[in-house]
């Protein structure tokens, strides 16, 4: 500890889990079930079980339950959707574990998913899938999953650090993981959480776009923390835009997703001229094409002047009958009626919206990283979805890999000891966090956040090109300089301006790696579209981009060949 290190409280735990969405809470549950004697701590920037995006899942969860379906088919769909950039071992793990996790959610966690008339679990159609395999609870599935997981926390009595922001991973003098530094948002107090195992499961960073779907908390905290600790990340250029985000003017509601099941059920998309434009982009699958294809099509319509005045297109499902739409998509209908629209009766204006980050930290199938004792699960990890995630594979990933991280953590916690965190690193972490409070005369974070969102939307959005990306690289460097000199007025307790300045630093850290990776991929693949490289390279000779942090500089990029251990793209086509 250095002379000016602020006071802090020390918490000693066996397993520290950062994030309380689907991945974080499944991890806590599995860790407890595997070894009830372990001391588990859940660290959550917002309310436990009620922040992040699993809670916001609408459509549902892909899992093979029907005898007519197969995990092989789910695997092929996931790879085809991911344009073969996926880590095949991770994708294989996802599809194999998903049915068991559904059974666990139903029989252990107490979720109840919608049933068919015969009383068995109902599965609905989602885009990009060869079988109707999406399990759901109405059109607000996330509430059921997260409310019940949150209730399980009351049963297992894990320690909850609610409204506590994780700052930095810390290591002992020999470089072994010792835990992490945290900031208690409600009081402004600092914490040092010493843990045998740390699991990072905070969720992605799509809020850095002007039109974006996720919850407020998702500012890339986990990936930024891992980058600061030197961990390599992959596929960072792969940021998914969901095709149907609501447009509601300047309201914060803009960007909120209208769920994929609408397109699965037969909704049409129209441009402002009334043309069903998907005929020109994917005449076979039309609106049921994958998210990358539909978002790019909508974006093209909008930028080529065939969109609405507000920069959108229309989704229309009213031809299926108002009564049926109201019953089947109750939550979505309510969402549109709040702002004077009516999904059951009229077309609704939508735009592609930044939704999900396929990129993230490199992990193995047990969620292990390059740092012993550090696990990563859910959206913070990369590789499962390749270049594009299928709808319904997101909550599946969070819960499948959250569960695996919990199993691994329980095992590792018995093998590892508590390290002594390097006091200088602890002091530096706290000092970085208090910088905006200590400095005077700097900018507030809010206008910088708005600039970042505009910049990413315009220069690293649905369709990208070199000159724009190079401009974004320079402007992000400037924004990072300005973000390092922010000042916010007090108090320290529950101060949103202070918190936003810390969010902004993380968003910028992640944004710079996204832009560098986007510059490096000279092709169009999945969610990454380049107008200067509109074609895709050879599916059979793919490389993924790995970014490795290099101190204060922008990360060093390398490429690694995709291993086609289970399925070669040319075999998939046959």
């Amino acid at each position: 500890m250095t002379a000016d290190t602020p006071d802090y409280e020390e918490i000693v735990t066996d397993v520290a889990i950062v994030g309380s969405g689907g991945a974080g809470l499944m991890c806590a549950l599995h860790c407890h079930e595997a070894d009830p004697g372990l001391d588990i701590t859940v660290i959550s920037k917002g309310a436990v079980g009620r922040s992040g995006c699993t809670r916001m899942v609408q459509g549902g969860f892909n899992a093979v339950l029907d005898p007519g379906d197969s995990v092989d088919a789910h695997f092929r769909d996931t790879l085809a959707g991911g344009k073969y950039l996926n880590d095949q071992d991770l994708a294989w793990t996802l599809v194999n574990d998903a049915p068991g996790v559904i059974r666990e959610l139903e029989t252990r966690v107490g979720c109840f998913f919608d049933r068919r008339p015969d009383g068995r679990i109902k599965q609905k159609a989602f885009a990009g899938q060869s079988f109707d395999r999406t399990v759901h609870r109405g059109d607000l599935t996330g509430i059921e999953i997260m409310s019940r997981l949150r209730d399980q926390m009351l049963r297992i009595a894990a320690r909850e650090l609610e409204d506590v922001r994780a700052l930095d991973l810390v290591f002992d003098a020999a470089g072994r993981l010792a835990g992490l530094t945290c900031l208690e948002v409600q009081t402004g107090r600092f914490l040092l959480v010493r843990a045998r195992v740390v699991v990072v499961a905070t969720g992605g960073a799509a809020t850095m776009y002007r039109i974006a779907a996720p919850a407020r908390e998702k500012t890339g905290d986990g990936v930024a923390m891992c980058l600061r600790a030197g961990l390599p990340v992959r596929d960072m250029e792969m940021l998914q835009f969901h095709p149907t985000g609501l447009l509601t003017g300047r309201s914060r509601m803009t960007g909120a997703v209208l769920e994929e099941g609408l397109r699965g059920a037969g909704a049409h998309l129209y441009n402002a001229r009334g043309e069903r434009y998907m005929e020109r982009y994917d005449p076979e699958r039309m609106e049921r094409s994958t998210r990358d294809v539909v978002s790019r099509a909508s974006y093209t319509e909008i930028v080529e002047g065939r969109g609405t005045e507000a920069g959108g297109v229309f989704i229309d499902i009213s031809h299926l009958g108002a009564e049926w739409v109201e019953r089947t998509f109750k939550g979505m209908v309510e969402r549109t009626r709040l702002f004077g629209g009516d999904l059951a009766r009229r077309p609704v204006e939508v735009s592609p919206t930044a939704h999900f980050h396929m990129g993230g930290v490199l992990i193995d199938t047990d969620c292990r990283t390059d740092v012993p004792g550090l696990l990563v699960a859910g959206e913070d990890a990369g590789g499962v979805h390749g270049a594009n995630r299928l709808g319904g594979n997101g909550v599946a990933e969070s819960t499948v890999f959250g569960a695996r991280a919990g199993d691994t953590a329980a095992r590792l916690a018995r093998e590892r000891v508590h390290g002594d965190a390097d006091p200088n690193a602890v002091g530096e972490s706290f000092s970085r966090a208090t910088a905006p409070l200590r400095s005077a005369g700097g900018e507030l974070p809010y206008p910088l956040t708005a600039e970042l969102k505009d910049l990413m939307w315009q220069s690293c959005g649905v369709v990208r090109r070199r000159d724009r990306l190079e401009d974004a690289r320079e402007r992000l460097a400037e924004l990072a300089d300005r973000a390092a000199r922010l000042s916010v007025p007090g108090p320290v307790a529950f101060n949103p301006a202070w918190q936003e300045s810390l969010d902004l630093v993380n968003q910028l850290t992640v944004a710079r790696v996204i832009v560098e990776s986007a510059l490096a991929r000279d092709e169009t693949r999945g969610a990454h579209a380049r107008s200067d490289f509109p074609d895709s390279g050879d599916d059979g000779d793919l490389h993924y981009i790995v970014a490795t942090p290099a101190g204060e500089d922008v990360p060093r990029l390398t490429t690694r060949p995709v291993e086609y251990g289970r399925l070669r793209p040319q075999e998939a086509a046959s």
């Binding site: 107490g110 049933r115 009383g119 679990i121 919850a215 309201s251 509601m253 916010v488």
Partner: protein, 229 residues
């Protein structure tokens, strides 16, 4: 148009009146964000999802419990009063400590207690038109926002009444054939802190942002879970 907004602040010296330029459609959450960005950077309020799923932005809007993200301003609105949710200690400005809500929620054992041999097996076969599901389905989708608890004349004081959200959850679990803790829950809801404390003021049902009817759940619990026709 300009909106005059009065916001309850925990620091009595902090500014509490703000003039906000409105746009439409504009929610109360948008109003709070505008104040925070243009006038008072440290104004304390809580929100996460902004689509009525997280249930964390519960405040009082002109005296009534509501989710800030789901309350759209009328186009002719000129004044607005915002207070923290009633019945909870204030942490800062509009942020409250919802522990009293969760204490009651925890008391009813809010999770399914499955039979040992059911765990990890096949999901139960329960048709959607079964009596069980017809009783449960209208009471699902609670987001634990606390609006009902906050609007209940009894849940606030003294703090022993289970309150509308926990009782609604108890009804769901008592009807759920997968659960084995029915007897314990029935005893609790029939006990001193249970359904008989309800005076049917209907503050809960009137304030639920998801359109649930906790008062009906309480009536059903009184009749042993049977429908009140």
């Amino acid at each position: 148009m300009t909106l005059l907004v009065r916001v309850a602040r925990s620091d009595p010296g902090a500014p509490a009146e703000f003039r906000v330029e409105t746009f439409h459609p504009m929610t109360v959450l948008d109003v709070l964000l505008a104040i925070q960005r243009e006038h008072e950077p440290s104004l304390g309020f809580r929100f996460s999802c902004r689509v009525a799923m997280c249930g964390t932005c519960t405040i009082r809007v002109d005296g009534r419990s509501a989710l800030a993200c789901q309350t759209v301003l009328p186009e002719d609105a000129t004044r607005l009063r915002l207070d923290p949710a009633a019945g909870f200690p204030v942490v800062r400005d509009l942020i409250t400590d919802t522990t009293p809500f969760w204490e009651q929620w925890a008391r009813i054992t809010p999770y399914v207690v499955p039979a040992d041999d059911a765990v990890g097996g096949e999901p139960a076969v329960i048709p959607p038109d079964s009596a069980e599901r017809e009783a449960i389905d209208p009471a699902l989708d609670c987001i634990q926002c606390g609006a009902c608890f906050s609007s209940c004349g009894i849940a606030g004081q003294p703090r022993t009444f289970l309150g509308p959200a926990a009782l609604n959850r108890a009804l769901v679990l008592i009807q759920d054939s997968r659960d084995t803790a029915t007897r314990e829950r029935r005893e609790l809801v029939a006990g001193a802190d249970g359904v008989d404390r309800c005076h049917y003021i209907y503050g809960c049902t009137g304030s639920c942002p998801k359109g649930l009817d906790p008062a009906r759940s309480i009536r059903r619990l009184r009749k042993g879970g049977r429908d009140d026709g």
